[in-house]
Symmetry: C2
Subunit: 346 residues, 2 copies
């Protein structure tokens, strides 16, 4: 990956072999360009013989569009993100776009986004932390659409976002748990500085309040399995006043909580404790867990993100900002005692 490579064949080479002009070669590779079928054929034949592929960098230099979308992820720990990445790459490829991946372990996306900008990407999907509003503005100025995925910005109106219905979903879980006869309901939070946790916690609290209840206990799981385990230990370690249900703000944590409850504390789920998660990761459906959870619908969310990116540059209007909330649904499985009445909500 070190020495200059200039061995790739160029349109000029193809032109020479085919005995036509270089512009003709370019046209032969441009859908909808005005070339005779005969010319196109001739060029293609020569191209195949030489193994020619147009140089995407040269093309984007002249067209001003790179057909690349940048994806920034903080890590693939969230088990929903492999599916997101896969779906996004696939959707983009269909439209002739490609995905440039960035993984940021730190809290700051700005530096990474600056790197992305060098590629003159046609859009950015941010599934990691958030963006400084300064850089967000730079992107808008450069007319590069940015969409936050599964998070929103504190100062709204600057960057578009896609997320599922965190508030509504959490409220529905509260309703479900109350209807299931639970009376000592706990909450295990994700990262407290995340917009997802803020919204889920708020929705949950409001949902409980609507029935005259409130969280009986609360701990922080930070969206990681180890911390969630400790939260479970803290919340369920003593028999006295032990919660009879817990809403865990993310599936990865919820799975860890179930394991802790069962294998470390000897509790039965859902007989002793009901557990409900949030995300709808594939592992939640595994027979060992059968986790009841609120599904974030990956495909609709990805599709919405792509639509936002495309919409932002349609027309010459300044980048339009929009927050879309994709509805999810509660998937009832076996980890939580269900309401007696068969209805979903009281």
């Amino acid at each position: 990956m070190d020495s200059p490579v200039r061995s790739a064949v160029t349109a000029e080479d193809v032109a020479r072999l085919a005995g036509v002009s270089q512009s003709a070669v370019s046209r032969a590779f441009t859908p909808g360009a005005s070339v005779s079928a005969r010319m196109r054929q001739r060029v293609h034949d020569a191209a195949v013989r030489l193994g020619y592929q147009p140089n995407a960098h040269a093309r984007s230099l002249t067209t001003g569009r790179s057909r690349i979308v940048g994806l920034v992820l903080s890590s693939l720990d969230n088990l929903l993100y492999p599916a997101v990445t896969e779906r996004l790459a696939l959707r983009l490829q269909q439209d002739g776009y490609h995905l440039l991946m960035f993984v940021s372990e730190q809290r700051d996306s700005d530096d990474l986004v600056r790197q992305i900008l060098q590629y003159r990407v046609d859009g950015i999907v941010l599934g990691a932390t958030t963006l400084s509003s300064g850089l967000a503005r730079s992107c808008a100025q450069a007319r590069i659409p940015v969409v936050l995925f599964n998070r929103v910005m504190a100062s709204s109106g600057v960057v578009s976002s896609v997320r599922s219905d965190n508030v509504g979903g959490a409220a529905e879980i509260a309703r479900f748990l109350v209807a299931g006869g639970h009376r000592r309901i706990a909450y295990i939070a994700g990262r407290e500085d995340s917009s997802t946790n803020l919204e889920r916690e708020r929705g949950f609290a409001e949902g409980l309040a609507a029935f005259g209840q409130q969280m009986q206990a609360r701990a922080v799981g930070n969206y990681d399995a180890a911390t969630a385990r400790e939260a479970a230990l803290a919340l369920f370690g003593r028999a006295r006043g032990r919660p009879d249900a817990v809403f865990v703000a993310g599936d990865l944590m919820a799975l860890s909580v179930m394991d802790t409850l069962r294998h470390e504390l000897g509790l039965r789920v859902p007989e002793d404790v009901s557990v409900v998660g949030f995300d709808g990761v594939p592992q939640a459906a595994w027979p060992s867990y059968q986790l009841t959870t609120f599904e974030q619908p990956v495909e609709p969310m990805v599709d919405a993100a792509v639509r936002l990116l495309q919409g932002s540059l349609a027309g010459d209007a300044p980048t339009a900002v929009d927050d879309v909330i994709v509805p999810g649904r509660l998937i009832q499985r076996a980890s939580a005692r269900a309401p007696l009445t068969e209805g979903r909500t009281p």
Copy 2:
């Protein structure tokens, strides 16, 4: 993502503002170029004021190196691949490279690789299917290093590869199972056309043979959970002659097999059946499974892949081809009866 964007600021703009030549701007952004500290400072100040980022496409056009590596994955179903992607992206970023993602659901990588080639990538990591030897040769000719990840090519000597010790690992599992006193040992295969399955099955058969044993039963799980479940049902459905151990060629399948055994067939693991997997995915360590498995060491494998890419273009020698096998290790957990003697092997 549709209309041409030309609003980005260029080196020319910066030069004008700083009152210097455009080449000076370029040098100020090139590490090791001959510029005075004063000039560099002046340029940087102007650059910051304008929010200038050098255009990577223009740069790669002149340098002939894109600093992009293509990654082709068939899907992120294999639970090892999120970690691979993350680690690879991180490693590359450190060296100033970036990852262009391609997801291929079909069997054919050729078309996708052709798309990648348009970006004049400095290297390709192929974690999906394999490459036609024709295209492999084209890559070599264009001096683009390709490395197969977790697979090898039928016709060797054409493309480099990195994999873990499938043969040795499977043989070690055979030894481990025999030493554990198992006498009716079954095998659940991955995709039968995959090099990984070929190697694991061979290593396992040889390992058993060394102890005068052989597979008592065999089914195909195709590396997916649903098919693995069916394989388990077929193999363990009848009590008569039921195997007392099974080596499952991939962890995702092994986890599904454990669930099937326990929850559908009412068998105990490992009391009734020992289960051993292969991969070392994070989920294998979860308390509900505690799967004994042979670990494919992600980081060393990724590092080896990066080293291969870099080595291939060092010097002007034609792309060197190498197959590296990274040693893994058997992680003993609770899903398989261990040998009585505390040693790892008989």
